[in-house]
Every structure is written in structure tokens, then in C-alpha cells.
């Protein structure tokens, strides 16, 4: 007969990748230890490989027709749902941000701001076309209309701001109908994996957002040179040489590149630039006549 331990041992979470709506480990079997700002062990995060990055790109490509073809209203509803789910897990995110080194009060403000940012972007889904599209008064008997369309599959190197920064780079990419492969901030990737759980329970179709954890310097160049990736956001690349290497690699198939600017204030009004960088303009002509 054994005695019951008075302190219950916690059941820890395995932090995995998020690809195509599922949570696989890295196919490479690799992981890396994530520690708190004080150096305490938190978890072993998956260390994504080139193959994982390629799988994520295929998942994003498969999800693109459905997501870009969904109505803007539907995309807005789903982003709003993401905000709801995030709000519901407020305490969990605060705890994870505190683990990552954010002060408790600051962590609370961060989660609130992340929720609010999602709500803000959700509202853009059915408005951006009116803002950046145009009816063009051509000098001839033609109907002529320009509308924005999503660029396609976007690789996003997220900044080391584990929640607000992450949400601020992902939401503008997907709200317009792009799908993405995100490289989470390397130092504190755990909130990104938890955000994946939020996404997975928000009616967001699998593959629209794919999240990789691991070494930014290792994964970013694979995505920058991947021929089925249409654009890359280098916001989270802090190493200037790596940023240049990625931009050079991106030239091979003329990816749209959002260059790192350094020191973004994630609490500031984001403007529309993060959306418009990943939009194409399509202009349709038709003759008028009877």
C-alpha cells in the first residue's frame, strides 16, 4: 500500500509545431531547451528542420485557395473568433509571458493589446478593398476596376516579442486571404505554440497559419529561397547579414520582401502597411456597349 503524494505532479505540455492544422513534432526528432529569463528550464520546444519548413509551405499552399476564396466577412468573423479564444486564455498567456521575462502587469497589458489588435485587424477584412482598390476612369468605353488580392503563401519571421509582436505580424498577413508559415521568436517560442492552440480552436482552416519553432538562422533562409513562397516578412531577423542573405535568396522568384526595420513599437498604431505589402493589385477591363 502506497501513500498518496501530498503535492500533485503537474502534467506538462509537449510543445510541438503547428502544421496543416495538426501538432506534429519535428520530423527531425530535434528539440531545444527553452528557459525562463532567470535560466530555469521551461520546456523542450521542437526544433524545426528544413523538411518541416517545406511541409509547412505545402500546407499553406493547400490552404490558400479556400482561405483566399472565403468571403471577407467570413475571414473577419474567424479573426474575431481568434480574439475571443485568446481572451479566454488570458491567464495562461500572462503566465507564459511572465515566464519569458515580462513583468506581470506588462504581461497583462500585452495580452490585452494582442486581443485588441486581432479585433482591429478582423474589422479590416471587408474594408481594405474599398481603401486600396479603385474604379479607374480610363479614356475609352471600358469598365475598369482594380482590386487587391492576397499575394499567396507568405513566410513570416516573427519578432522576439512572443505574443503581441507575433499577433501583429500574423494577423495582417492572413486577414486579406494569404496563408503563412511563421518562424516563432527563437528565445521565447512557447506563447507561439499556445497561440497555435488558440488558432486551432477558432475555426481557422488548417494550414492558413503554420508555426515553426527552432533556429531562425537555420529556417529563415530555407523559406527565403523556397520557390513556392510568394513573399517574406523579415521583421524578426535581427542579424543584418542574415537579413541580406534572405533578401538575396528571395530574389530568385521575386518574392515580395518586408525588410526588418528594427525596434518596432508593437503598441503603436500599425497602419495598413503590413497588409498592403502582401497584396497584389488586379485590374480587370471590359468593354462597355450594347
Amino acid at each position: 500500500m502506497s501513500k498518496t503524494d501530498p503535492v500533485r505532479l503537474a502534467v506538462r505540455k509537449t510543445y510541438k509545431l503547428y502544421i496543416g492544422g495538426a501538432f506534429p513534432r519535428s520530423e527531425s526528432g530535434r528539440s531545444y531547451p527553452v528557459t525562463s529569463s532567470k535560466g530555469d528550464f521551461l520546456a523542450n520546444a521542437a526544433k524545426a528542420s528544413r523538411k518541416d519548413a517545406r511541409d509547412a509551405v505545402s500546407a499553406a499552399r493547400r490552404a490558400f485557395p479556400g482561405w483566399s476564396g472565403a468571403t471577407p466577412y467570413n475571414r473577419g468573423q474567424i479573426l474575431y473568433r481568434v480574439a475571443e479564444m485568446l481572451e479566454g486564455r488570458r491567464a495562461q498567456f500572462v503566465a507564459e509571458l511572465v515566464d519569458a521575462g515580462t513583468g506581470r502587469a506588462e504581461a497583462g497589458r500585452n495580452v490585452d493589446a494582442a486581443v485588441d489588435r486581432l479585433v482591429w485587424y478582423a474589422g479590416w477584412s471587408d474594408k481594405i478593398t474599398s481603401i486600396v482598390g479603385a474604379a479607374n476612369p480610363v479614356a475609352g468605353p471600358y469598365f475598369n476596376l482594380s482590386t487587391p488580392e492576397p499575394t499567396g503563401v507568405v513566410a513570416v519571421v516573427a519578432p522576439e516579442d512572443p505574443l503581441l509582436g507575433l499577433v501583429s505580424v500574423v494577423a495582417p498577413v492572413i486577414v486579406t486571404g494569404n496563408t503563412c508559415v511563421v518562424v516563432a521568436g527563437e528565445r521565447a517560442p512557447l506563447p507561439a505554440v499556445t497561440l497555435a492552440e488558440v488558432l486551432a480552436t477558432s475555426d481557422l482552416p488548417g494550414g492558413v497559419v503554420n508555426i515553426l519553432t527552432g533556429s531562425t538562422a537555420e529556417i529563415a533562409p530555407w523559406l527565403a529561397s523556397h520557390m513556392d513562397v510568394n513573399a517574406i516578412d523579415l521583421t524578426g531577423v535581427t542579424d543584418a547579414e542574415l537579413a541580406v542573405a534572405c533578401e538575396e535568396a528571395a530574389a530568385e522568384n521575386l518574392k515580395r520582401v518586408l525588410r526588418p526595420t528594427g525596434g518596432t513599437d508593437w503598441s503603436a498604431d500599425p497602419g495598413t502597411r503590413r497588409m498592403t505589402t502582401f497584396l497584389e493589385t488586379k485590374t480587370v477591363w471590359h468593354p462597355t456597349g450594347v
Binding site: 479614356a139 482594380s146 471590359h286 468593354p287
Partner: protein, 475 residues
């Protein structure tokens, strides 16, 4: 068939100098170490003039002049910049016949096209962007959007003056100054434009024209004091430019190649579709990045359409570009002709069937007959690579979904055409075609108010319309 008497446009309106220097800082200046090269009339191989290929030192001087002018130009009230651009537009209209004849001489395109398409669009483009210069605060880029600085602009040989207008007009309207490099085979209208800038009293250094080939272009792209590069040309060179600009912080817009599908459904007005297909691929000898070089025709009407198309091709008149009856002019250069021949031979070698109307070619000059390939597979080089010549590849499809699949099966994404009488199908197709311009029941239409530019490897950025301002504003 009717017999046509020759109706050549007079070239007396054009006064071509035996040689040209570089237009830097508002005046004609000598090159430092550049060599002179002939520019020829591709219809006769006659040398028209000599231009110098600018060196790195020349480019540096031109960028310096542009930098010096930038302060003054960007500080001018928009309404004053507007008036300069309006002036330029007016002078272009006044000298349009001269410019059209010169364009045809240097490029080989039919006078009918340079006179009726290129020149009116060039003037319209300057008029359009002139009007934006004092309204930039209303363009949706903030209350007081700022220019970028010095723009390095590199343009191709297929629409020399029109591409110059697409580059210079928005750049100047936004308050930038420019160094423009025309293509080495078609420098003459850009040099005449320099004279127009002088006539308009444009402040010195606002527009600088440096002639030359790839090395001159590379010097411009790599110059550290250039803030923006705008390039129109091949995807291959576009890639190189994107690579060299990486890490420099320079802004970049690229308008590159295409392999557009022109899709004809069985319910299309076939006679109109035939005209559209002809205009799509034989306009400007097919030297058009957005040319409808892949005809996708619904299987049930393929035979009928091809018959009508071939009949129409027998009526096209190929020959002297200055003749007002000419439909198809000369291929712009020996190098381009060699490329068209090579790809056409590859088309035959890979098993496609080649057809051209009986079409005697002039003995001198660079010529290629209008050509159709049938039985083309998607894997053939002529279905994948940009020929940039009067060569049409014909493929068939059964369902709209198959048409979309085939149309999008290319790394390019510049333009597409759809021919059907069913409105909902047009919009369904337009939604799914991954291309920057979709022409429905028309093709190859251009307008300064209408944004133009590609998806995927056809480049990025838009020229024309409100969208075209973004490329030259710090936003």
C-alpha cells in the same frame, strides 16, 4: 485581296544628329571614357546615329546632378511641378509626329502603332501625373507624403518612349529627380525627350538621360546615392537587380516578363475573339511583356477559331514600318530575332506544329513572320518561356476549371485574357486568374489611370493610376 499602294510616312520631320552625348544636369556633356555605339534601324540595318555607352563615372555624375536638383525640385510647390509636367505633355503633343517617326525608325514598330498608340499614351501619361503633383495629400498615403530622392530608371526597347513616360511622369510628380537609362537598341526618343525637357525649361538635373547597355544599368543600380530603382525588362535581369539591391535599403519596383493566356470559350463572339487574339500576340511584333502568347481555346470551337485566325493572319501586312498600311514591323534587333528563331525551332523540335501565312520577308533588316504553333503541350518551351516575338502557342481546354489551371501554370502573372459572352463566367475567371491585368473581351488596352503590373515572377509594384504613386513616395 486588295492591292495596297505604298503609303510611307515622311521621315523629313525628324532631324537625327550623327551622334549624341549624355544629358546630365540639363546639358549635353561628354562621356568620361565611354565608347560610341551605333543605333540602327532594324527594318533596314541602316545606322541612324551614334550614342555613347555611359561609364560608371558618367553615371556618378548624373546621379550627382539629380541629387543636386532634388533639393530644389522636391521643395517646389506641387502646383509648380505640375505645370512643368503639363508643359512637357503639351510639347510631346506638339512634336508627336516627329517622336512617332523617330520611334518607328529606331524601334521597327509600325508607324500606325507609334502614332496611334504609343504617342497618345505618352502625352496622356504626363497629363495624368501632372495633375497628381499638387494632390498627393489626397492620394491615400498620408497628408504630406514625401518623395524618395533620386530614382534610377531602366527601361526596355519595346515601347521606348512610353516606358520613359511611365517612369518619369510619376517620379517627377512626386518630387523625385531621375537618372534614366534607355535600352541600348532604342535610345533616340529618350534623347529627343531630353531636348523637350530643355524646351520646357525643366530645372537642370531633374531629368538626366544616360545611354548605354547592361554595364551602365548595373552602375546605376549599384550607385550608393540612388534611393529607388525602377526597372522594366526581363525577369532574368529583374532577379539580378533584386539581388544587388538586397541590403541596400533602396526601394525597388520591377515590371518583368509574362506568358499570358488568352482564353476563348465556346460562347465567345468568335470574330471579335480572333481580332483580340491577333492584337494580343501580333501587336508590336509580340514585343510586349503582357502579350497573349498562349491561346487557350475551348476544344469544341478550336477548329473553327483556328481556321478564322489563320484566315485573318493571311491579311496582315508585314513590311516597311513607316508605311501607314503596315501591321507587322521589324524585330527590334538581331539578338532578339535569334532568340525568336531559337525558341521557334525548339517548338518544332518538341513536336508542336508550326504555321505561318505566305509572307515574303524584306531582304534587309530583322524580320519574323507571324507564326502559330498548334499541338502545344504545357511542358514545351514555347508554352513556358517568353518568346517576345510574333509567335502564338495554341493549347485547348474543356472546362473553365481546366482553363484556369492551365492559365495559371506559369511562373509569370502579368496579364490574361478571357473571351465569353457570359458575364458571370468572366467574373469567375477574373477572380481565379493570378495576373495583374485581366482583359475580358478585349486585350492589350492601356491607360494612365489604370494600374499595370504583375503577380509572381512578373515583378512587383504598379505603374499607372493612384497605385503608381506609391512607387515614388516614402510610404
Amino acid at each position: 485581296m486588295f492591292e495596297y499602294a505604298p503609303a510611307p510616312e515622311s521621315r523629313a520631320v525628324v532631324d537625327i544628329r550623327p551622334s549624341y552625348r549624355l544629358f546630365v544636369g540639363g546639358e549635353w556633356t561628354d562621356s568620361q571614357g565611354g565608347t560610341a555605339h551605333k543605333t540602327v534601324n532594324p527594318a533596314s540595318e541602316e545606322a541612324l546615329s551614334e550614342v555613347v555607352w555611359a561609364t560608371e563615372a558618367d553615371v556618378d555624375r548624373a546621379v550627382g546632378a539629380a541629387r543636386k536638383a532634388f533639393g530644389v525640385w522636391s521643395a517646389l510647390p506641387g502646383s509648380e511641378r505640375a505645370k512643368y509636367l503639363f508643359r512637357i505633355a503639351r510639347i510631346i503633343q506638339e512634336r508627336s509626329r516627329e517622336l512617332a517617326v523617330l520611334e518607328t525608325l529606331d524601334n521597327g514598330k509600325p508607324i500606325r502603332e507609334s502614332r496611334d498608340v504609343d504617342l497618345p499614351l505618352v502625352a496622356a501619361h504626363f497629363f495624368y501625373y501632372a495633375g497628381w503633383a499638387d494632390k498627393l495629400g489626397h492620394a491615400g498615403y498620408g497628408p504630406d507624403p514625401r518623395p524618395l530622392g533620386v530614382a534610377g530608371q531602366i527601361i526596355p526597347w519595346n515601347f521606348p518612349l512610353l516606358m520613359l513616360a511611365w517612369k518619369i511622369a510619376p517620379a517627377l510628380a512626386c518630387g523625385n529627380t531621375v537618372v534614366l537609362k534607355p535600352a541600348e537598341t532604342t535610345p533616340l526618343t529618350a534623347l529627343l525627350f531630353a531636348e523637350i525637357c530643355q524646351q520646357a525649361d525643366l530645372p537642370p538635373g531633374v531629368v538626366n538621360i544616360v545611354t548605354g547597355a547592361g554595364e551602365t544599368g548595373a552602375a546605376l543600380v549599384n550607385h550608393p546615392d540612388v534611393n529607388k530603382i525602377a526597372f522594366t525588362g526581363s525577369t532574368e535581369v529583374g532577379r539580378q537587380i533584386a539581388r544587388s539591391v538586397a541590403g541596400s535599403g533602396k526601394r525597388l519596383t520591377l515590371e518583368l516578363g509574362g506568358k499570358a493566356a488568352n482564353i476563348v470559350f465556346d460562347d465567345a463572339a468568335l470574330d471579335q475573339a480572333v481580332e483580340g487574339v491577333v492584337n494580343g500576340i501580333f501587336f508590336n511584333q509580340g514585343h510586349v511583356c503582357c502579350a497573349g502568347s498562349r491561346l487557350l481555346v475551348q476544344e469544341s470551337v478550336a477548329e473553327e477559331l483556328l481556321e478564322a485566325l489563320k484566315r485573318r493572319l493571311t491579311t496582315l501586312r508585314l513590311g516597311d514600318p513607316l508605311d501607314k498600311n503596315t501591321d507587322i514591323g521589324a524585330i527590334n534587333s538581331a539578338a532578339q530575332l535569334a532568340k525568336i528563331r531559337e525558341l521557334s525551332e525548339a517548338g518544332e523540335a518538341e513536336g508542336a506544329e508550326r504555321w505561318s501565312p505566305a509572307c515574303p520577308l524584306p531582304e534587309r533588316g530583322y524580320w519574323f513572320p507571324p507564326t502559330i504553333f498548334t499541338g502545344v503541350a504545357q511542358s514545351h518551351r514555347i508554352a513556358r518561356e517568353e518568346v517576345f516575338g510574333p509567335v502564338l502557342s495554341v493549347l485547348t481546354f474543356r472546362t473553365p476549371a481546366e482553363a484556369v489551371e492551365k492559365a495559371n501554370n506559369t511562373p509569370y502573372g502579368l496579364s490574361a485574357g478571357v473571351w465569353t459572352e457570359k458575364g458571370s463566367r468572366i467574373l469567375w475567371m477574373a477572380d481565379r486568374l493570378r495576373a495583374g491585368v485581366v482583359w475580358a473581351n478585349t486585350f492589350n488596352r492601356f491607360d494612365p489611370t489604370s494600374p499595370f503590373g504583375g503577380y509572381k515572377e512578373s515583378g512587383y509594384g504598379r505603374e499607372g493610376g493612384r497605385h503608381g504613386l506609391e512607387a515614388y513616395l516614402d510610404v
